[in-house]
């Protein structure tokens, strides 16, 4: 059947067709829809993991059982899951074991632009790179076969434009895979040094076999064309290159680690000029150039290779950038106009807003974390000082205190979302208590993982499929970590919020505030929009400090104005207005 699928949907479909049995993953843009779609198939056990390391380990356990297993994550998620990945690279895969990494060139919703193909190289496992949705489906299937054939985890590497572009896909049927069962084999499955030394030998042999396999692998494909220009490329870059250089000859690589050296040198020798076209880092270029260096008299080819001397390393590649790099882009006839930016903002009625309003008012140093609430850094709330990585807020606050003393703790607050706290905030909090720190953490408990599109988490009482699950309650959890000073607040109540923060920073030990109020987009219990009574409004602009997209200022009338389309009636502005000008009339 033909379907119009995104790369993520196609990966999910391919894994399903391959008979995948167990899936465990933590959401992260641009990977999230892979898990969400796998969760819809009743033949598969699929779950929301607490974090990426957990996801990879659960999938590894399933592979021990001879099941086909998959985990998926955004690129930085693999940093969290790197530890088990490297061990599994030694242990191998009894049941097909696929790790999907969705990288984010251009950083549409990420903190960095890391190229996870290097993980494949460092862990010495194969890396597959599909170039459209059809190949996403086919390679997701093939990854399981490769994994079992070569006894290795396989890295299926996507990028934002692969994950989130849609294309026409020819789908197939599911071929059931029955887990072959657990077999005790300590020499294979226990990575003590004595075993691992032998495993490493096998890993090196495996790499050689994989490189040989790549020489005849049908997806490492030569597309003959004009001999003057030969282009070596992979993934989405192939599609851009085809638009800009339609007549060139191509070597389109799909197994991008380990590389097929012979095939590459033959291709290079068959064309007059060679371009290596890839996004961000020089992953292919470095390896291909290495083939051309004379090492003890051996050299695969002697030719100039053009790659990152022309194509930018920084930022997302696209047809325009590629054309510009080679001087092929015509000047636009249209003159750009100067426009105000339109960055994302906290939604009207978002419960995070109350906390950030208070933090801004109290002029505290805020170590931040990753989630919708990172938007608390934006004007006019302006209430965030650092963001490192998921879980990095609590620990950064602690480091500030250890460096500058308890006075710093009185001026510092860490903010962390509920999903992020479960992901990697707990260990930091334990460290604070254990090492006698003084400090305050606010858990922004909006009862959901909002940023990535509203997934359930261990605190929400629902599984991936929406079935009931035990709720891990934050308050007893925090108390059992040894925190004595715990306050529960409603962040939409500005007075209570401010008072709780003042109390917490003046407490001598570790304090936690749980700011509990559900994300406005999950329950959608919107109340009627408020109106500004223009007779009462004195134009003091205090309400504008909330940074609510529904409130603006009429410069002519010198009055605040509420947009009835956006306002959901949370009444936070009304509670702030000194003249009670906001109301329902």
């Amino acid at each position: 059947m033909k379907m119009f699928l995104s790369g993520n949907e196609a990966v999910a479909r391919g894994a399903w067709e391959a008979g995948v049995n167990v899936v465990s993953a933590y959401p992260g843009t641009p990977s999230t829809e892979i898990l969400e779609n796998l969760g819809k198939y009743k033949e598969i056990y699929a779950e929301l993991a607490t974090n990426e390391k957990v996801g990879l380990e659960v999938a590894a356990g399933a592979s021990f059982a001879g099941a086909r297993a998959l985990t998926c994550m955004k690129h930085v998620g693999l940093n969290v899951a790197a530890d088990p990945l490297f061990s599994m690279a030694y242990i191998g895969a009894r049941g097909g074991f696929v790790v999907v990494s969705a990288d984010d060139p251009g950083m549409h919703s990420s903190q960095n632009e890391q190229d996870n193909r290097y993980y494949a190289k460092m862990a010495k496992i194969p890396c597959l790179e599909p170039s459209d949705s059809q190949e996403c489906l086919e390679m997701a299937k093939l990854a399981f076969d490769l994994s079992e054939k070569f006894d290795t985890p396989v890295l299926l590497r996507l990028t934002t434009r692969i994950s989130h572009s849609k294309g026409v896909v020819e789908t197939g049927e599911r071929k059931e895979h029955k887990p072959t069962g657990y077999v005790k084999d300590v020499a294979k499955n226990i990575t003590i040094p004595a075993h691992a030394r032998k495993m490493h030998v096998k890993v090196e042999e495996r790499l050689k076999k994989l490189a040989e396999y790549g020489e005849s692998f049908s997806y490492n494909k030569i597309e003959p064309g004009d001999q003057k220009l030969g282009i070596i490329t992979s993934g989405i870059s192939y599609q851009y290159a085809k638009d800009i250089f339609p007549t060139a000859s191509y070597l389109k690589l799909a197994l991008t680690f380990p590389l097929p050296g012979k095939k590459i040198s033959e291709f290079i020798n068959s064309a007059d000029e060679i371009y290596v076209i890839e996004e961000n880092d020089t992953f292919l270029e470095e390896q291909i150039k290495a083939l051309g260096y004379k090492v003890s008299g051996k050299c695969a080819y002697e030719k100039e290779i053009t790659g990152k001397t022309k194509i930018p390393i920084v930022g997302e590649l696209d047809p325009t950038v590629l054309a510009k790099a080679f001087g092929l882009q015509k000047e636009s006839p249209y003159k750009p106009l100067e426009l105000p930016a339109r960055p994302p903002v906290l939604c009207p009625g978002c419960p995070h807003r109350g906390v950030f309003y208070a933090l801004n008012k109290l002029k505290l140093t805020v170590t931040g974390d990753i989630g919708c609430y990172t938007l608390g850094m934006m004007d006019p709330l302006n209430a965030m000082d650092t963001v490192v990585c998921m879980g990095g807020s609590v620990t950064a606050a602690m480091g500030l205190e250890k460096a500058l003393g308890p006075e710093m703790a009185q001026k510092t607050v860490a903010v962390i979302g509920d999903s992020t706290f479960f992901h990697s905030g707990i260990t930091g909090l334990v460290d604070m208590v254990y090492n006698n720190s003084k400090g305050t953490a606010i858990i922004l408990d909006n009862r959901i993982t909002a940023m990535t599109g509203h997934q359930e988490n261990p605190g929400t009482g629902k599984t991936l499929q929406g079935q009931d699950a035990p709720i891990i309650e934050l308050e007893p959890l925090v108390r059992s970590c040894g925190v004595k000073h715990v306050q529960l607040i409603d962040p939409l109540d500005l007075k209570q919020t401010e008072a709780a923060i003042k109390e917490a920073i003046n407490n001598p030990g570790v304090s936690v505030i749980i700011a509990k109020s559900p994300c406005i987009l999950i329950e959608k219990k919107f109340k009627p929009a408020l109106k500004v009574d223009e007779d009462k409004c004195i134009g003091c602009k205090i309400c504008l400090k909330l940074g609510c997209p529904a409130i603006s200022f009429d410069k002519v009338k010198k009055k605040s104005k509420i947009d009835p389309i956006f306002c959901i009636g949370c009444e936070v502005c009304a509670s702030l207005c000194p003249k009670q000008a906001m109301g329902h009339k």
Binding site: T29, R161, G167, P319, T320, K335
Partner: protein
């Protein structure tokens, strides 16, 4: 046939992404290859949103190259200008008459370029200004703005109106099929 490139832009929550799906699916239902690309994640949070749709015999890149969009379908006046460089020489603009105020303007740090449509008119000849909200309300719901705009777009493309209606009926909530048909017609009759 040359690949047809349509860039759709607007603000998160306006229905840009669904419109992109419907265009691509209509092209596929008409026998073409199609690709579509957009970025999720922040789309719900009121940011600037763009979707690229391409269809033809065989489509490679899911992204449109600057200077190659045949049509820009813009849901918001100022956003049109943000993507103007994508329009090909002689290309067509369809602009929904709506202004959504960004935060920097609401707080008084920046000005909304109120004359933005006039300034675009000085540069682009082929422009259709569409009172999307008004037509959507007349059809029965303010939420059908994106269907009105699809109607306006359909007139510029050589895909059969019946195919559009077929895909729209499949993609909108069952209760709203009739209303969306009306919305599509009212957009289609705009010139």
């Amino acid at each position: 046939m040359k690949t047809v490139n349509i860039l759709i832009c607007g603000v998160g929550g306006q229905g840009v992404l669904l419109a992109g799906d419907i265009i691509a699916e209509t092209a596929i239902a008409s026998g073409f290859d199609a690709k579509k690309s957009e970025v999720h994640g922040m789309a719900q949070r009121g940011g600037s949103v763009v979707s690229h749709v391409r269809f033809g015999q065989k489509v490679n890149s899911p992204l449109i190259r600057q200077g190659e969009a045949d049509v820009i379908l813009s849901f918001e006046e100022m956003e049109t200008a943000r993507y103007l460089q994508f329009l090909k020489a002689g290309g067509c603009l369809i602009i929904n008459r709506q202004q959504v105020i960004p935060m920097s303007v609401a707080t008084g740090q920046a000005e909304y370029p109120v004359d933005v449509v006039e300034r675009i008119k000085q540069q682009v000849k082929d422009i259709l200004l569409c009172p999307g909200m008004e037509l959507a309300e007349k059809s029965g719901s303010a939420k059908a703005v994106n269907t009105v705009l699809l109607g306006a777009l359909a007139r510029k493309l050589e895909l059969a109106p019946g195919k559009w209606q077929e895909v729209i009926s499949r993609r909108v909530p069952a209760k709203t099929v009739e209303l969306n048909k009306k919305a599509f017609e009212s957009g289609y009759s705009q010139q």
